[in-house]
Amino acid sequence: MYKINKENLSALFSLIAEANELYVPVSINGAVNFAAWDEDVQVDLDTLKTVKSPKDAFFPQSETLYSCKRNGKKLSITPEELSSKDFVVFGMKACDVKGLAVLDKVFLVDPVDSYYKARREHGIIVSLACSQPEEACFCNVFGIDASSPEGDVQVYMIGDELFWNAVTQKGEKLTEQVKSLLADTDEAKVEEEKASIKAIVERLPYSNLSLDGWGEDAVLLDKFNSPIWEELYKPCLACGTCTFVCPTCQCYDIKDYNTGNGVQRYRCWDSCMYSDFTMMAHGNNRTSQMQRYRQRFMHKLVYYPQNNDGMYSCVGCGRCVDKCPTGLNIVKVIKAFEKGGNK
């Protein structure tokens, strides 16, 4: 366990940035999101949750897969180079780190997604414990410990100090790089902080949310055919806010951009809530907003767990709770089914 005074954070960041790309929560006109660090950005480690989850450090909102050029009748394809530089994401919360585990089960299973894999390999996660969880948090419901986030390095902000605990080999390596700025310390304060966090988590309004009837053992068709969906979806605007702020949503689209000199085929986030999401040449799987609304939650709470040994595709970060323009969210879905007897 090491520590560093908050005053030296900037020095720490510049040292990390010497050998790595560094992403930190940055405030731009009031909105905090992960962004590349440089000396001019306004780092904000106090805001609990960034608007967007940090998933786009690993699965960017838009990324070019390959370029294609045409020469007469001949085509040539140039794949985009994979990320090859180590990068550090500093300040990921427990829920966000867990979100990557959810994405891993999508992108790292056969056929492995090389783009994601390369980023995962080169990405070093410095996770930050949540000293002040907020009302929309319910990560504990999914077994996530906000006081002890996973990651390569765990960090705690306590008072004027930042406590640094390397967990993995990657973490150790990073620690070596910045050791000059770190001082040895014991774990007493951190343990105290952990206990404090746990106590707050218990008082969170959603801490007792029950997942009974969901997950691996859910009766899929019962849930699917439940009339409750009809009740729930109506205010939905069919926007993509919930999916784009979500740390686990992974739906994407593959499209072409004509640059004039060739075609760049890129992948970009898509939202299963969009009305044209499933509109394809061969037909449309889900034509109504109810179906699309149902799909999102069925996927997170039933389909995904059934394919992944019970792991939910939700980490309880509460971003959708905070950001839905019409006050809809996954908690309301879970509660509605609970009220309806989980049918």
Partner: protein
Amino acid sequence: MQRIGVFVCHCGSNIAATVDVKKVVEIISQEPGVAHCEDYQYMCSEAGQAKILEAVKEKNLSGIVVCSCSPRMHEGTFRKAAERAGLNPYMVEIANIREHCSWIHKDMEEATEKAVILARAAIAKVNLNAPLYPGESRVTKRALVIGGGIAGIQTALDIADAGYEVDIVEKTPSIGGRMSQLDKTFPTLDCSACILTPKMVEAAAHEKITIYTYSEVDKVTGFVGDFTVDIRKKARSIDMDKCTGCGVCQEKCPSKKTPSEFNRGLNTRSAIYTPFAQAIPNVPVIDREACIKFKTGKCGLCEKVCQAGAINYEQTDEIVTEKYGAIVVATGFDTIKLDNYDEYAYNQSPDVITSLELERVMNAAGPTKGHLERLSDGKHPEHIVFVQCVGSRCNDNRGKSYCSKICCMYTAKHAMLIRDKYPDVKVTVFYIDVRTPGKNFDEFYRRAVEEYGVNYIKGQVGKVAPQSDGSLLVQASDLLDNKQIKLKADMVVLATAIEPDPSVRRIATMLTASIDTNNFLTESHAKLRPVESPTAGIFLSGVCQGPKDIPETVAQAGAAAVKAIGLLAKDKLLTNPCTAKSDELLCNGCSVCANVCPYGAISYEVVQVNDHGIREDRRVARVNNALCQGCGACTVACPSGAMDLQGFSNRQIIAEVDAICR
């Protein structure tokens, strides 16, 4: 996706001199979708068009791009060729590499590069073309002729003789035009009035011809075959039905100080007047600016003397609205203003006159009753100097760049007539070139020189200076002897350039007919369609299209008439198929398109749609193809992109943009 054939025209050297045509072909052949690419000397020629037919057949082409002159020139030609080849004519796009490229660029590399880009844009567009099919519209069997000079009269007579109704709109109180002001005509020396007046009478008497004099075209709407025109009959202050043309009113009118338009201001006329004795109709008008009654409320003499009771001071302008299938413009010309030519002392000395003024001086009905005399003092002149090319063929911006064409001949005529009638008068003509291309023209000019002893000096007049003794000192250079000369003259006659009548701008605008920098109306094709405006249904007659003499004017008037007759003879016209079209699955039914449509072509109906499985009743826009003219205002107003313009679709234009910016 089309299979595209690209044809690059050399246009002789018009394109090929500046654009490396072979290189364009080489590059364009590599473009995706291009299944055939070749170049040819003249794509618009029979052989060129045959190449299109052949390639369509051989390569199974579905789209054609011709890189050539402006689509305003030959789009129709190539559309027809495509049709003959079995393609829909709207599967053709033109890349304008002449007017927009080879003619305005000098650097071959640059021009070639641009030609390639323009070709790419056309290819990108044609890729998204779809076959279009014209609808039909009816033809109103009536023609309008704007202008009642010899051109308008001849056109009207020819159309009327073919059995169609014709209306002539003339802005002055009488038909007749410039020709009525002329004394004699070259090269036959007929009396102008003697040959014109019968035509005027014939037109007035023709049962198919309606003449609106002292009238102007106020508003034109509609399109070929179906124009609606508002004609403003200006208040004449005379009841035409009652007036007997006795002329007493003009005699008695106390206001006689208005310069006579007909006599070019060389004398004056009364406020109530007919421009000339043979005016048709022989009904005067009251010039309200000059009339004492209108200015002060007092007088009213004409009303008192008119036995027919035809004077009506209360008359107001009247608007007549009429429908026409074809419109012929015959607005004629005027001489240019000489304000920029101080060196000729036109404004200083009354003895410096224009040739048109000389016509009036020579005319028996003119201000001098046909006597040749100095206007300043009535003295018989001893020496008259004619100056050619005043404001014509001008390379500065004081005058006109073009040759007015008629001056050489009428000057020879004037010189000859003067020498014939007054052998004592010495006549000197300063000229730059003498141009006599025309039947019996050169013979005529030679007679002036050889038989009548007119003194032609190749040279330019530098200055005309009025002398204290009333004579004029003419300073000139003799270009053949290369010396400066000074001559004493009694009169100087300026062969003043002619220009289109200034009213033509307003008329061209209303008709959306093109005019060139000199205000001459543009013909659809300089060689092949010289009497048609690029705007369908508008035809050109006389000097409004370019300088001409009388026989040429009459010939063109006849040609314009034939073109108009050809149009009127049709029962139906095919309408432009490039109309707006609404995609009912995207239409919001919000009415914004109908709000901006100038033709009322958009209406709404409730239809049942099947939107990818959702069946519902929706209010959607419908476009009436007969009314839609294809402006595209609705397409931009429509936020969802449901409304699109066939032939100029959003995706087509964007494809062009992309091709240009790539």
